[in-house]
Symmetry: C3
Subunit: 340 residues, 3 copies
């Protein structure tokens, strides 16, 4: 499907979607329901935005069959409109091609190996014994430290750091400011002073993982910190040493996972949530935003902590009562004994 | 007012403040009430520090008229002493001048444009089609990626990154480690694996905004992520894709705002607070530290969630009762039914 | 003790530990109880892992005397096995030696001074009037700004930034992405717009401190922000301007401390906890994970806030009742008045 635009019929055929409306509709870009204009394809997945459908000026919309009758323009039907849209939108992504070879301003240690088809960007540093695989990209300002390995087709966008003994699988994407393989936070108190516990492990990241901007994944104390395949981490996440994260688990921004905790597969961790150390979450656990998980969870499902947002004046009264809660409960127990 | 020191009378006249005490008092620096010495100007704005006034050895103090009688040294009267002090202190800021021109160690893509009066610092990278405006400064180790634009007089202090399609207005200040324009966290589940939703939008930052150290602002999925003019973000903040932040809103450190949320003007978001995605806050909403906002807010005012800090042994008892709260409430309802 | 391996007897003698079992046991590496193999030394400190002792295939184990009888292999006895292990493990740390001298790709301002035995890594920048002490290491991609000082034997691992007026003591370790000495977040509202309060102070870091990856410590508004000796900060921590942290205090990841707060010595702050500004914590305060400290604490001990993690359906019911808590408490008070 070369050229600047595609017909809706071509898109439907290419992705196996049912088409309703004019098959010759030209699509040459992407837009939201609210703002799309002529030639732009939009989508409806989140019901929150359903009321925008009737007024859309998009050229066409990807949506569920149930929404098709309400759509004022041609549409493509998908059981999962968001996933279908993701694939369609990729056709219109115009990222600049990344050249293979080492930029003259980059510094590559003589003991490192860089595959012929890999690209090392401006002002990047590749350290002792590092290995950069075929088709990989190390962007501007990145540092890849000793004994790190970047697998085939993986990319460090810009100014990211692999510190020590980090191994990335294939097609891993690391965003700017991310730090993988820094020392885990290992301290022992000795005669009134802290002594540092050497962090002799590494970080092992599976295929197809994504690591968000300014996210940190510490290297293990002895064994490795591990992300299995297809783990997706948003920005500003902290993963302590020797954590293990199961395949297909996704975490929203600002999550913190303390050391040695193990998280199952297909878990969804909401933004700002925390997991204390040395616990285990089974597969398919969902944790809502800013909840703190203080013990292991062995049943799939959704978990929460915290209190609802309120007007501060109301919250103050209720919060003050929280401090009396045990006392209140004992009083109630006393009352009910009297009653029963 | 050249020279190393100014008279208090000069300062009063320059900033239109009423002076009490010796107008020839020389001021050549700045100090806190507690530690200021001879020649240093101090201020009293926060009532917490009022008890330090009587003992101050400052040469003079900026304060409200109501505090003037208690001041043992000359003073300048201001309705807003903190704002007045901010302007006064700027006279004593001694930042090193930043040279115009491109440092020989910087790397500028041939397709980028750099204004004549702009400065590109050591080891910075300016990418394809980037545009750096007059008087702008790109500090050491910064990366400015493809199709990014830095407005007149804006500065990236050091080691900050604009990733893709980021446009900064005038006089924007970006602190080290900040990442603007990284991919938003867009994922769709497809046959048991995540697929990435292309992030085709950008980031638009208005004039006079400030972006703290290690703060992240993701680029939009389709439309742009937007900060209106005079938005002030502290360090370690996470702003998801397609968020819109109204003019003059300020956020303390470690706030997280999930995707597509809209925040009004003149809002104040306390440190570590969280806002879930797809909600809307009206103008002049205050959120206290570490509160989680889970729904839209349409009335100005102060909002909170959470529970008070307590001794752990007391907290444990009360927290355990929180898990019984609905049961306790039903019991009370039953009791009161009996009573009523 | 040169050579690839040591005998258990040598290790016992060197560190003053009692040995049980075969003194000729060779140790050439480190492993966990669960995964250690022949030649590897392990340890048992956390009782959570005691059940792994009987099945270990480690060559020897460092443990408390009380656990010795249950140990199937030779052991070294230590009152504090974790501290003993930290010292033992350091023998097996194989970090690459860092060369003295300035890497040709680094940029050093003519007004800076670099000690003869210091090393400046690839693509690092040393700014105006900066001073780098004997044996210090400034790793790849680091920036050391104006008037900063790095004490003897301190190291910036990689891609860390000292911004302005930061002074590090001896043997300080700063991890990648950390930002010390950025502007504090000082704003004053003036006629409907924010004006910036100049940040004229610096950051003073004592000896033997550790600063985690992507952690930020802002410089003071007037006086310095201060970390006393042996303060240990994990990753992603935010320390506001003019905070003071007492010696030997340790903070886990993602803690946020607002401006001008003072923290005592030997405090332990749990992950994701927050401290509001302008408060004071005495020595030996422990704060549990994700708690918010809103007032000064003058008694040592452990403090907490928050609610327990629950199934979301249960949590929803209880959280809804939290909003009625004051009303419920008044009703109970009414009931008990009736009763009493």
């Amino acid at each position: 499907m070369p050229g600047p635009g595609r017909s809706l019929a071509d898109l439907a055929a290419h992705f196996g979607l049912e088409l309703r409306g004019d098959p010759t509709t030209r699509i040459d870009g992407i837009g939201t329901l609210e703002r799309a204009g002529p030639g732009q394809l939009s989508f409806l997945a989140n019901p929150l935005y359903r009321q925008q459908l009737s007024g859309t000026r998009a050229a066409a919309v990807v949506l569920r069959e149930a929404d098709a009758d309400a759509c004022p323009v041609p549409c493509l039907l998908a059981a999962e409109p968001y996933a279908a849209f993701a694939k369609l939108a990729a056709l219109f992504d115009t990222a600049t091609a990344r050249p293979a070879g080492v930029h003259p301003s980059a510094v590559v240690d003589p003991s490192a190996t860089v595959a012929a088809s890999a690209g090392i960007g401006p002002l990047a540093w590749i350290g002792p014994r590092a290995r950069i695989g075929e088709g990989a990209w190390i962007g501007p300002g990145c540092t890849v430290g000793e004994d790190c390995e970047v697998g085939e087709g993986s990319e460090l966008i810009a100014r990211a750091s692999l510190v020590t003994r980090v191994r990335l699988g294939k097609r891993v994407r690391v965003h700017p400011g991310a730090v993988l393989g820094a020392d885990g936070f290992g301290l022992a108190m000795d005669a009134g002073r802290w002594i540092k516990v050497p962090q002799l492990g590494g970080v092992l990241v599976g295929d197809d993982c994504e690591i968000g901007a300014n996210t940190c994944i510490d290297r293990g104390a002895i064994d490795d910190t591990v992300l299995e395949d297809d783990v997706r981490l948003d920005n500003q996440i902290q993963v302590g040493h020797n954590v293990r994260i199961g395949a297909h688990t996704a975490m929203a921004g600002c999550v913190a996972v303390a050391g040695s905790t193990r998280i199952g597969r297909y878990c969804l961790i909401g933004g700002g949530a925390g997991l204390v150390g040395h616990i285990e979450l089974c597969d398919r656990v969902m944790v809502t935003a800013m909840s703190l998980v203080t013990h292991s969870i062995s049943e799939p499902g959704e978990y929460s902590s915290g209190t609802p947002i309120q007007r501060n004046r109301d919250w103050r009264r209720n919060a003050a009562r929280f401090k009396q809660l045990d006392r209140l409960a004992r009083k109630i127990a006393g009352l009910s004994t009297t009653e029963d």
